[in-house]
């Protein structure tokens, strides 16, 4: 069996270091090694979006990235959205619009929505639905999710990105 590889990266703003097998996916490394179980496994082949994370700000399915590939890179998961100041505007909008039912797709939805709003502050409903097509939700019928993203687009404008500092670390 292959020797474990040492990987150093920034995850949610914190420097992390871990050992993993070369064949372990980023999803497995986040959940089983780093204990960040907020990122979900829904299909493990890139068709449901539940495992969505940001890799250097780029939206990816963490099931289709090897853990060893994140060496020296920055990963953002759902656990990194809120900071000591409270919920991120996208999280807040999802709560306010009742866009959560079972909540299993929610972490991926939040990350995908953030990736969209980071690029396009004012997407149309059609654009949101097109962008979110990679994130399956079986409970909500999507309506409240789309409304939440539109609401978040309005509030994101006046929001400073999370600050990662001691208080923030202590919080997790």
């Amino acid at each position: 069996m292959a020797n474990k590889t040492r990987v150093c990266a920034r995850v949610n703003g914190e420097q992390v270091e871990f050992l993993c097998e070369p064949y372990q996916s980023l999803l497995e490394c986040l959940r089983d090694i780093l204990g960040l179980t907020g990122t979900k496994d829904g299909c493990n082949d890139g068709n449901c979006g539940a495992c969505s994370v940001l890799l250097d700000g780029q939206l990816v399915n963490s099931c289709l990235v090897l853990g060893v590939e994140i060496e020296g890179r920055e990963v953002t998961t759902v656990e990194g959205l809120a900071d000591w100041r409270g919920l991120h505007p996208i999280q807040l909008a999802v709560v306010e619009e009742d866009a959560v039912q079972c909540g299993y797709c929610t972490p991926g939805i939040l990350i995908a929505a953030k990736a969209l709003l980071d690029r396009e502050p004012n997407p149309s409903e059609r654009r949101i639905r097109t962008w979110m097509a990679g994130n399956l939700c079986r409970c909500t019928g999507y309506d409240k999710i789309v409304r939440a993203i539109m609401r978040a687009a309005r509030s994101c404008a006046q929001y400073d990105p999370p600050l990662y500092n001691g208080r923030n670390k202590a919080r997790r």
Binding site: A2, Y23, G46, Q58, N61, C63, T130, A133, G134, N135
Partner: protein, 310 residues
């Protein structure tokens, strides 16, 4: 997943050496959106995965109005789709690259990978074939050029030797009065594999009254993406009319060798070839005459045969 080793060389030489040493039990890794799924499903077993994303040549996009465009094999679709020169000069490439999976897939997937995966349904391949793209392949003995239409030899098989790798894809500079379009049909709005796909490229006379050259290529209707020569040739010298498109569509349907599978029946695929070739030709001509825009960014609004599209 069965264990394997991982290497991330920073030069073509190292990469080729690693592939040569391990032989058929090594595979290059670009976006991984096909490779990792195949490894996980046990469809493929390897001892070594060679991550080629750290090799400069494979990450480059270079455009020259005369030389044309070179796209590194590891360039992600998302990056390609945002490149201003590519968007301006190669809209058909955007048509295809922007519909390969949703945004999360496009952040990883590459047109080089799409080519090396050699799926009959690979959307980028007909788009590359019709604009006359060629592959630059590196091996121990240096590099060689392979036209895209001959790169795939069978489902999942290519001309690449065990010790060879795809470095980049070259696209000739676009000619004035030329235009290209790629369209596919899928049941949902996004996220599906093409049931059938069609790419078309046309070159019009200066007055736009006549088609002086044309190429048509098809996806998911033969063991490999298919250049439909006769269909393209049938348009040469004709006016860009619905009748001419219909004749080309008929020839393309005859060239298709579809199978029936979980995604569609043989009859449905053959029928869709006709529909899509007509729609792709209309789009290509509109592009040649400058009245059809490039789709906006990655994971664009679906253009694949949906209502009022193409």
């Amino acid at each position: 997943m069965r264990p394997f080793e991982y290497q991330a060389p920073t030069s073509i030489g190292e990469a080729v050496a690693l592939l040569a040493d391990t032989g058929e039990r090594a595979r290059p890794l670009a976006g991984g959106t096909d490779l990792l799924v195949q490894l996980r499903r046990g469809l493929l077993e390897v001892d070594l995965v060679v991550d080629v994303k750290k090799i400069p040549e494979l990450n480059r996009i270079s455009f020259h109005p005369v030389e044309g465009l070179t796209v590194g094999a590891a360039v992600a679709c998302a990056v390609l789709c945002e490149h201003p020169d590519v968007r301006a000069a190669y809209p058909a490439l955007i048509d295809a690259a922007s519909i390969i999976g949703g945004p999360a897939i496009q952040g990883r997937a590459t047109i080089g990978g799409n080519l090396c995966n050699a799926a009959p349904s690979g959307d980028a391949i007909p788009a590359m074939i019709v604009v006359g793209a060629t592959c630059t392949v590196a091996g121990p003995g240096g590099t060689r050029a392979v036209p895209v239409e001959t790169f795939c030899t069978a489902p999942g098989r290519t001309v690449l030797g065990e010790d060879e790798m795809l470095v980049s894809i070259r696209f000739p500079a676009p000619m004035p009065n030329s235009g290209a379009r790629y369209l596919r049909f899928i049941p949902r709005g996004e996220m599906d594999i093409a049931v059938a796909g069609a790419g078309a490229w046309v070159l019009l006379s200066d007055d736009h009254a006549q088609i002086t050259d044309a190429r048509i290529a098809l996806a998911a209707v033969a063991p490999t993406p298919l250049l439909a020569d006769a269909a393209g040739a049938s348009l040469i010298g004709k006016a860009p009319t619905e009748d001419a498109f219909a004749e080309a569509a008929k020839l393309a349907r005859e060239a298709a060798r579809p199978i029936g599978d979980v995604r569609g029946t043989e009859a449905q695929r053959r029928h869709l070839v006709g529909v899509l070739v007509k729609r792709a030709l209309r789009g290509a001509v509109r592009r040649a005459t400058g009245d059809l825009a490039t789709p906006s960014g990655r994971s664009t609004e679906p253009v694949q045969g949906g209502r009022n599209h193409g």
